[in-house]
Subunit: 140 residues, 2 copies
């Protein structure tokens, strides 16, 4: 079942498959939303050291397994990349949504970021779009 998918994902990205990595990947897979560092620490922290969580997230970021989502409250969230985004920029095509009610952060895969016209002289490299409001589940 999921075990297999996890192992594959790790191997595909040239990462040793270890307990900590499997656990954290599992959290992402079963969550299907974004997780903050403290979320992860809370859910996996009893079994793994804080430092391991930091390092694991960093490695996942570098390998393009996850991407980071900036938020207004100074707490970065991380979410699984649907496709490989190890190049660095393959995830900036969808909008991120934070629910003010439940606090969940999700990637709106269907909603793509519209192009904008920058002032003369500016060149864009990456675009983030972050919407906050009330999500489907909380919007009874």
């Amino acid at each position: 079942m999921m075990e297999k998918k996890i192992d594959e994902l790790l191997k595909k990205n040239h990462l040793s498959v270890t307990g900590g990595r499997k656990k954290i990947l599992e959290l992402f897979l079963q969550q299907e939303g974004a997780l903050s560092h403290s979320d992860i620490e809370r859910k996996a922290g009893e079994k793994f050291d804080r430092v391991t969580v930091y390092r694991t997230l960093q490695v996942f970021l570098e390998k393009g397994l996850i991407h980071s989502i900036p938020t207004s409250d100074n707490s970065i969230r991380y979410a699984l990349c649907k496709e490989d985004c190890s190049g660095g920029h393959h995830h900036d095509d969808h909008v991120h949504f934070i629910c003010n009610t439940c606090g969940n952060t999700v990637c709106l895969e269907g909603v793509s970021i519209p192009a904008i016209r920058l002032p003369r002289g500016y060149s864009a490299d990456q675009v983030e779009m972050l919407v906050s409001g009330v999500c489907k589940s909380c919007n009874i």
Copy 2:
């Protein structure tokens, strides 16, 4: 000169005019870009306590003198609001730009955030758009 403008701004927002607040406001006015907490601490920290900087920024935020800009590197930046945004949401109409070369963050007042279509069930409250790339000054 600037002294006067600063005093006015503070008074208009029902804030006592004190050394710390004047200094921090001055930094914002002469910077004309966004500042991170550590920026401010570095530039005003010799004269003022760290806690004072925190509390001052918090008050400025509440009063709508400044607004915060989320960034990917987990370090919120603050920028002066052109108009009053004490209501909370009056600043989400422009795009923010971070230069990867010089590190500066600016508000692109002229560039407004395009409307997007959210999936059924979602309602938006606030929208942030964050572009990173190379700014005018660095794009020789």
